[in-house]
């Protein structure tokens, strides 16, 4: 990706207790995309300090508010810094920065307002069957509830044009924000496109990530959050 295009992109990285992994994630990310903002979501460890030492902007939530809240904080900051495109990117090393140019390209070309990474169009490394099954159920849930046809739902690698990032409001603080983004896409009539990406699972990311049973709680939070204005 040309440096001029990379400079227009701000990458938002929500992080909670990622001291063990964030250095490696940023070491891959920052050489390609120097405008990165890590939102330290009230981590009790050194996630924020490490991210700052690596060369990222750091915003610190004094309290843990959840990934959805951290993303919205990072998006607001990126817009204040003049981002033309905002990309969201997980801090645990599951995503490959080499996928970002493909996520950004349709946005810069004006072909889409939002791009959504899809591991099912791309590839996965080390994904357990239970996670595969839960994600497929989540896709079916999104198609029924949000009425958006996608192949992957809870993928943290997404891209937004400046206008789309300003219009989308994430009010679901916790993990249910992923479903809420689809609601927002539909409500605002945004043009979206799925992009094949790679998601890498390791024992550490699986141990820290959401349990498959937690999906029910996430769905419940999403539905209640939809009702409560």
């Amino acid at each position: 990706m040309p440096p001029a295009d990379a400079a227009a992109v701000w990458v938002v990285v929500p992080a909670y207790k990622e001291a063990a992994r964030i250095r490696a994630t940023l070491a891959e990310l920052l050489p390609r995309f120097p405008n990165a903002v890590v939102v330290d979501d009230g981590s009790p460890d050194e996630s924020g300090a490490i991210a700052r030492a690596c060369g990222a902007w750091v915003l610190r939530h004094p309290l843990n508010r959840g990934q959805g809240a951290a993303l919205q904080t990072g998006i607001d900051f990126a817009l204040l810094r003049g981002a033309a495109v905002v990309v969201t990117f997980d801090s645990d090393g599951q995503h490959d920065p080499a996928d970002i140019p493909a996520v950004v390209a349709p946005l810069l070309a004006g072909d889409a307002d939002v791009t959504l990474g899809s591991r099912f169009l791309g590839r996965t490394v080390g994904m357990p069957f239970t996670r595969w099954a839960v994600l497929k159920l989540a896709v079916a849930f999104t198609r029924v509830v949000s009425r958006v046809r996608v192949t992957d739902t809870h993928n943290g690698l997404r891209g937004f044009t400046r206008a789309a990032a300003a219009a989308v409001r994430i009010r679901q603080d916790r993990m249910s924000h992923a479903s809420e983004i689809f609601d927002e896409i539909r409500r605002l009539g945004l043009r979206y496109r799925e992009v094949p990406v790679t998601v890498r699972y390791t024992a550490a990311t699986l141990a820290k990530g959401q349990s498959s049973l937690n999906a029910v709680r996430v769905a419940w939070q999403f539905l209640v959050g939809r009702v409560v204005k």
Partner: protein, 123 residues
């Protein structure tokens, strides 16, 4: 009417009068205000005339007045639970907004030169 009935009806009448007096100064929605008045009035009527509940039960085909009270309490419990949950959710959103404001206000720039260099001069 027994002493208990007198006291209870008087207390409920007082609560109803208070809600009507503060009708326009209350921060609650019209639905909530109305519901509260209905609850005070209904409770007062049920205590003043226990047979009224029995007649309502027969009208609804439930049979016993005590069952009507039980069902009403179950519904009220569910509604109250949801109401409190919604209130907690709104409070959490306000906490998040405040947290976000503080985080952006106190944004920390990168400690050293940025890999790739783009935007470094600006900082």
């Amino acid at each position: 009417m027994s002493a208990f009935q007198l006291l209870a009806v008087a207390a409920l009448a007082g609560l109803l009068a208070r809600d009507l007096w503060y009708w326009y100064r209350s921060g609650a929605s019209v639905v909530v205000r109305l519901l509260r008045c209905v609850v005070w009035a209904g409770a007062a009527a049920a205590i003043a005339d226990p047979l009224l509940v029995q007649r309502v039960a027969e009208l609804l085909g439930i049979g016993r007045g005590a069952d009507v009270i039980l069902y009403v309490f179950v519904l009220a419990f569910l509604w109250t639970t949801f109401f409190l949950h919604a209130r907690c959710l709104r409070l959490e959103r306000e906490i998040t907004a405040l947290t976000r404001h503080l985080a952006i206000r106190d944004a920390t720039p990168p400690a050293g030169p940025v890999p790739g260099g783009a935007g470094a001069a600006e900082r």
